[in-house]
Symmetry: C2
Amino acid sequence: MTPQAGSVAASGPRPGTASPDAGQRILDAAYELFSRRGIRDVGISELIDRAGVAKATFYRHYRSKDDVVLAFLSQRDELWTVNQIIAGARSRGTTPTQQLLAIFDVFGDWFIRDDFEACSFINVLLEMGPGHPLGQASIDYLARIRDHVQALAEEAGLARPEEFARSWHILMKGSIVSATEGDTHAAARAQEMAGWLIEHHQR
Amino acid sequence: MTPQAGSVAASGPRPGTASPDAGQRILDAAYELFSRRGIRDVGISELIDRAGVAKATFYRHYRSKDDVVLAFLSQRDELWTVNQIIAGARSRGTTPTQQLLAIFDVFGDWFIRDDFEACSFINVLLEMGPGHPLGQASIDYLARIRDHVQALAEEAGLARPEEFARSWHILMKGSIVSATEGDTHAAARAQEMAGWLIEHHQR
DNA sequence: TGAGGGACAGACCGGTCTGTACCGTTGTAA
DNA sequence: TTACAACGGTACAGACCGGTCTGTCCCTCA
């Protein structure tokens, strides 16, 4: 908020005329706003306000609003998909099968958070439509999630891992939408069906 | 909600002024535009253009944009949920269990249509958020879909029909999102899991 | 000491949005 | 025939949008 906040505070990564990295503040603000409120509901003015950044500074770092949304989606993939969901699930189980089922344990904890914001990739896809570049990018990131599931299925030695991952993904997405509707037990319901899916794919 | 239908009943095409009730033309245009493009992407100007109606006429029939969206959601419930999905599924099966599974047959035909527009209730819910009045209305209409499933489950004599319906609904919503991503076989995948769900709820 | 440059502030532009007001026209009822 | 109500057309108000631009401040480095 404060304009002068930490002018040289950063641990000096950039030589020369470097500064507190306004670009990072923009990305942080974009993550907060876009993940909770969607794309169209957040304007550039509010974004630069939150980041404590001038408009010209924003447009020096990003070519357009779509550009910063793409950067947000990439950040979301890293912080949420990989660091939260995949890493969280892997740490909760020892065998690949346990790790797969643990995805819905992570979901269960996530669904009951008061700042639960659903899946940004689904949100953006449905908000912008599959024809829009941002919708297409969301589809790509959703495919990456499915790839993680497929990799775990292969580690578990399950049959037809690609088909398995697509069915598994239906459970993930369906439970997220149900959680958005207010069903706090959606993760447990999906996990039950996920168990049957594993059984039917065991050789 | 209903556009008041002030003039004479629609006993025939009017010779002079408005041919087929301006209020109905507005609702028809709203259905076409909102179901295919969402809410925020469609402005009032485009809506009245499509309906062939003056702006003042629109605001004589509907108090606001939200008002006409509510009317659209109601229409969507009638034309899509009831007439297409539920009636279609009931006509395809003889027993309640067959009728339940036939939902995903209807979905399968629906997903491959080139004008596939996904589920408006999910779209509006994620577009506006669960806190917005339109999001809340969407949640209510989604609950009505679940009620239809629950009724079929009760007819089929399945155990714990409410829990069954919530799990079933996860499969419906998840497959719709997958279809939006481009998976044309999402309905078959969901149907397979739906079969297992029925098995586990048979007394 | 002074030049250079990144950051902040904010005016400004064209366009779009929802919603209102006013117009002349036309069919229907009295 | 006249009064009325609904209609299409359109200008307008006020807000907001994404994006451009100018000006000022301050830090860094030569």
